[in-house]
Each structure stands twice: as structure tokens, then as C-alpha cells.
């Protein structure tokens, strides 16, 4: 039930994001072109959700934002899951000093207030260490890289705990006794059996990444306009609370739906 509801929410948003170019063609509008004679237009047949402070169509920008937000969420989850699973597996398998160092590192990151650190990180000029800066695609890469710094921790802790319990099972001992190499043991016997907890952690990472991206974009440190992101759509909305309060409604609802969708999927998988 929860799983289905979550998949439904995410599916709708993803379909909307994928359909963005067609909707733009169908309405005959450009989500990035300002139209200063048509600012704050109310909802109508041409602008189903009205227009924003620069006269751009809100529905189209919402759909463009879906592409950005979901891309950031999924990419961060992929990076964090890969990194976290490897680190978690390594810690559980090697044990000893490696385990202790990796897990203290995880504890340290977990103890930090993530957002203030992210704010300072996001302002660092990543161009000088090889990450591009400026355009939408490079903004996405930059944000994903920054979010992965914290993202791997949750996955690694869950993966480690699950891997520890699997490594102690008899079938692992049996595999080793039959002469399976360590690589084969980890890949064929451990990994498939810890996929469940990892999937849950990945779903939660998507939720966290979407929230963090929108927050950074809202603060002006994430995806920079004119590219649309649900977060930077709300950055305008704060200046407009007196003149056009309705502008604030839709992007927030979109974030809410995406994050709730991921949380529901994670909850559903847990049962």
C-alpha cells in the first residue's frame, strides 16, 4: 500500500519531467524565456498554473524542475549507494583497524550539522578542483558531488551491519570451505543478501538529496537560474509574499510529493 502510493507519486513526477518538452511544444511556450508583459498572470488556458515574476509559465518550470530535482536525487543516491556499499562491505569484511577508522569517519560526519557544512562547501569554488561551475548540467554535477560527501554515511552503516550478520552465516563458511575466493564470497553470497537494507537506505538518500538540493537552491547556492529547480523557484517566491503569494504554493507541493514518495517507498520496503 505504502510502496504503491510512493511509486505512484514518484512515477507521476517522473512522467511530468519526461513530458516537459512535449508540454512546452503543446502549449507553445518556452519555460526559460521571460515575457515581462505577462507577469503574474492568473491560471488560464494558455498558462495552466499562471506565470511567475518574469512572466514565465509556472507549470513548465515546475516540470523542468522535476527533471533537475529527480536527476539530483537519483544521481546522488547512485553515487552514495555505490560509495556507501563499498565502504560498508570493506569495513565489515576487513574488520579491525580499517573498520574502526571508517566507522569513526562515518560517526564524525553524522555528528556534524550537515546543512551549515553544505552551505560552506557549496560556496567553495569547485572550478579550481576540476568540477565545472555555471551551467545547469555542471551545477547538477557539483551538487551531487557535495551531497555525496554526507550521503554515503547512512548507506555504509546499514550495509556494514547487514554484511556483518551475513558474513557470520554458515553458507558463507560453506562457500569458503568449498574454495570460493573472497571476491566471489562478497559478490555472490553477501551482496545479494544485503540488497534489502541497501535499497531502503538508497530510497531515503533520494529523499534527503531532493530536500537538500531544494534547500541549497533556495539559498542561492544550488542550481542557478535561469535553469529551473523547485528550490530556486521558491527563492523568488520569498520576495513575492506580498505581491504574489500564490507563486509559493506549487514548487513546495512538488518537493513535498517527491520526498514523501521516497519516504513511502522506503517505509514500504521495510515491511
Amino acid at each position: 500500500m505504502r510502496l504503491r502510493l510512493g511509486i505512484l507519486l514518484l512515477g507521476l513526477l517522473a512522467a511530468g519531467g519526461l513530458a516537459a518538452p512535449w508540454v512546452a511544444g503543446w502549449l507553445g511556450l518556452d519555460p526559460f524565456a521571460p515575457d515581462l508583459f505577462n507577469r503574474f498572470a492568473p491560471a488560464s488556458a494558455t498558462n495552466p498554473l499562471g506565470t511567475d515574476d518574469l512572466g514565465r509559465d509556472v507549470l513548465l518550470r515546475l516540470l523542468e524542475g522535476a527533471r533537475v530535482s529527480l536527476a539530483v536525487g537519483v544521481a546522488t543516491a547512485l553515487a552514495a549507494t555505490l560509495l556507501g556499499t563499498s565502504i560498508g562491505l570493506l569495513a565489515a569484511w576487513r574488520g579491525g583497524v580499517v573498520d574502526a577508522v571508517l566507522m569513526r569517519l562515518a560517526d564524525g560526519l553524522l555528528a556534524l550539522p550537515a546543512l551549515p557544512v553544505l552551505v560552506v562547501l557549496a560556496a567553495a569554488d569547485t572550478g579550481r578542483i576540476g568540477l565545472p561551475r555555471g551551467e545547469a548540467a555542471s551545477d547538477i554535477v557539483r551538487i551531487v558531488a557535495i551531497l555525496s560527501v554526507f550521503g554515503w554515511v547512512g548507506v555504509a552503516r546499514l550495509a556494514r551491519a547487514a554484511a556483518l550478520s551475513v558474513l557470520a552465516r554458515d553458507y558463507v563458511r560453506a562457500a569458503r570451505a568449498l574454495g570460493a575466493g573472497e571476491g566471489r564470497v562478497l559478490a555472490r553470497h553477501v551482496l545479494p543478501n544485503i540488497a534489502g537494507p541497501i535499497a531502503i537506505a538508497a530510497a531515503l538518500t533520494v529523499a534527503g538529496a531532493i530536500l537538500a538540493e531544494s534547500t541549497l537552491s533556495f539559498l542561492g547556492l544550488g542550481i542557478a537560474p535561469p535553469a529551473a529547480s523547485w528550490g530556486n523557484m521558491l527563492a523568488n517566491a520569498q520576495d513575492l509574499v506580498f505581491s504574489a503569494p500564490w507563486v509559493a504554493v506549487w514548487p513546495g507541493l512538488a518537493i513535498l510529493a517527491a520526498v514523501a514518495g521516497c519516504t513511502l517507498v522506503a517505509d514500504g520496503l521495510r515491511r
Binding site: 569513526r104 560517526d107 564524525g108 553524522l110 555528528a111 556534524l112 550539522p113 550537515a114 546543512l115 551549515p116 557544512v117 552551505v119 560552506v120 562547501l121 560556496a123 567553495a124 569554488d125 569547485t126 579550481r128 578542483i129 529523499a207 530536500l211 531544494s214 534547500t215 533556495f218 539559498l219 542561492g220 547556492l221 528550490g231 521558491l234 517566491a237 520569498q238 509574499v241 506580498f242 503569494p245 509559493a248 514548487p251 513546495g252 518537493i255 513535498l256 520526498v259 514523501a260 519516504t263 513511502l264 517505509d267
Partner: protein, 310 residues
């Protein structure tokens, strides 16, 4: 106990050292050093002047040397100057920390009170549980800056009851009026965790045999909840408080920025935006330290309540 405390304090110190090193090196990569800004502000400065100023302020040294000098000064209690505010950092940070602690304290109190009530309601009346669950998921999923904007629109713009931001000149009731919306924003984002954990914990505790025994003796439902079940559910709630310290502080950054309320979060944000490297770093380290100490305090509280953990 002493060993545990010493270990945790050591861990905090190591974390802070690594964080400061990583951040210092990264911020060293930020666009424009202070001298570039000075040149932009005063076209009469020549390239020779710039080189001389860089040497004077040690900016021609390698990054690592600068880090060591800066860290040593921090340890001696010299926090340096803020370029943005043209004041010693120590003077700016004191009032900001006080303001943030007031905000955080009020938000924790409100979210724990409402969250625990919701959790208790869900545990006592299982039919209401899905409802409380839905509120918890929504509260966890809604971005807090959006909730803040909605609150501003409803209570400041439409109804005009409360100020949309800023802080009071005078203390007393007026200051409280400025506190309501920021605290509500921060509390709404954090009450979900309290509700979910206390509901789960209370549901389990209420199935315990001693609860059935107490009920059989004729203990009333309210007394049962408050005297018999609640103390047992307090431990995981402290656990939530410990786990959530970081996100709460992050929430303070958003709320303070959104409501233009002076505090550590807004200070970090303004310092980052204004290229005030030293202020940003010192404020970030202080916030991290306070967060980790709060987490430690909550952990110790858990141990005090639950002898099995000690």
C-alpha cells in the same frame, strides 16, 4: 563513565580538527582572496601594492602554513576579525549564539511537546495511528523553508498578526512575537521524528505485562500512560534528540535566513555570501562544536535514564 566521556571528547576534538582542515583548504579555493576584493574596491591600488599587502597578511604563504597559523591562533582564543562586519569575530559570535540557542530551545520544547502528544495519541488510540503517521510523513517531507514561507503568507501577510521577520528592538512580549513564526517553522520540521519514535516505543511498552497488570489493578488510562509507560519511552526520545541535533541546527540556518533573524545560521550564510572566510569558518566550527556537545549531553541523559546502557 570517565573513559567514555574522555573518548567522546577526543572524538569531538578530532572531528573538529579534520573539519577545520578540510574546510580551510576548500575555502582557500573560493573565488577572490581579500586582496582581490580590495583591488576591486580601490582602483588606485597597483600590482606592487597587491603583492605587498599579500605578503603583509601572509597570503603569499602556502595554504597549509596558513592553516597551521590560523588554527594555532584559534586555540589561543584569537578568533580574528570579520571583514563583513568590521568587528572582532568574538564580539559578533556571542550575541548570535545566544539568539540561536533561544530559538533552538524553544523549538525543541514545542516539537517535543506536540510530537510526544501525537505519538501518545497514536499509541493509545490505534485507530488514529494512520492519521498521526500521515502527519509525521508530511512533516518530514515538507521543506522547512517552504513551511516558513506559507506561515509568513498566512500569519504575516494575510492575517497581519505577526511580523514577517526581523527581531525586536526591545525585549519582553515584543521579542516573543518575533519568535513565534521562526519557532513554529523549526518545530514543524522536527516534530515528526518525535511523533514517529514515541508512537513506536509507546505501542511496544503498552503491550508489556506490567502494563496489563497495572490495568488489571484498576490504574486509570492517563496515569498508566504518564507513570508507567512514558518513563520507559523516554530513552528513545532522547535518542531522537541526539540524532536530530544536526538537522535542528541546519533548520536554524534556514529559519534565521528566511526570517532575517540574527543568529549563528544567518551569520554563517551571510559570511559565506560576503566572502568573509574567517567568520564563516569560526562560526561553522562553533556550531559544529555546540551540536556535538548537545548530542553528547543527550547520550549521557539516555545512560542516566537507562541503567542497561551505562
Amino acid at each position: 563513565m570517565i573513559r567514555l566521556l574522555a573518548g567522546r571528547l577526543l572524538q569531538i576534538a578530532v572531528t573538529l580538527a579534520l573539519l577545520s582542515l578540510a574546510m580551510f583548504l576548500l575555502i582557500g579555493l573560493m573565488p577572490g582572496d581579500p586582496i582581490d576584493l580590495a583591488i576591486a574596491g580601490d582602483p588606485r591600488l597597483t600590482a606592487e601594492d597587491a603583492a605587498r599587502l599579500r605578503a603583509l597578511h601572509g597570503l603569499d604563504q602556502p595554504l597549509l602554513t596558513r592553516y597551521l597559523a590560523w588554527a594555532a591562533a584559534l586555540l589561543r582564543g584569537e578568533f580574528g576579525y570579520s571583514r563583513l562586519f568590521a568587528q572582532p569575530v568574538a564580539q559578533i559570535i556571542g550575541p548570535a549564539l545566544g539568539s540561536t540557542l533561544v530559538l533552538l530551545g524553544a523549538a525543541v520544547a514545542v516539537s517535543a511537546l506536540i510530537g510526544l502528544s501525537l505519538g501518545a495519541l497514536a499509541a493509545m488510540r490505534p485507530r488514529l495511528a494512520p492519521f498521526a503517521d500521515a502527519i509525521a510523513i508530511l512533516g518530514q517531507s515538507a521543506p522547512s523553508f517552504w513551511l516558513g514561507i506559507l506561515l509568513i503568507i498566512v500569519f504575516a501577510v494575510t492575517l497581519g498578526w505577526l511580523p514577517a521577520g526581523g527581531s525586536a528592538e526591545a525585549g519582553g512580549w515584543e521579542a516573543l512575537r518575533f519568535l513565534v513564526l521562526p519557532v513554529a517553522t523549526l518545530a514543524m520540521a522536527n516534530l515528526a521524528a518525535y511523533a514517529r519514535h514515541s508512537a513506536a516505543e509507546l505501542t511496544q511498552v503498552l503491550r508489556a505485562p506490567w502494563i496489563t497488570a497495572a490495568r488489571a489493578r484498576g490504574v486509570g488510562e492517563m496515569r498508566l500512560l504518564l507513570r508507567h509507560a512514558a518513563p520507559n519511552a523516554a530513552v528513545p526520545v532522547l535518542q531522537v534528540a541526539a540524532l536530530d541535533a544536526g538537522s535542528l541546527v541546519g533548520g536554524a540556518l534556514i529559519t534565521e535566513t528566511l526570517f532575517a533573524r540574527p543568529g549563528m545560521g544567518k551569520l554563517i550564510y551571510d559570511a559565506v555570501m560576503g566572502n568573509d572566510t574567517n567568520l564563516a569558518l569560526v562560526a561553522l566550527l562553533l556550531v559544529a562544536l555546540v551540536t556535538m556537545l548537545a548530542t553528547l549531553a543527550a547520550d549521557l541523559g539516555q545512560r542516566a535514564l537507562d541503567p542497561r546502557l551505562a
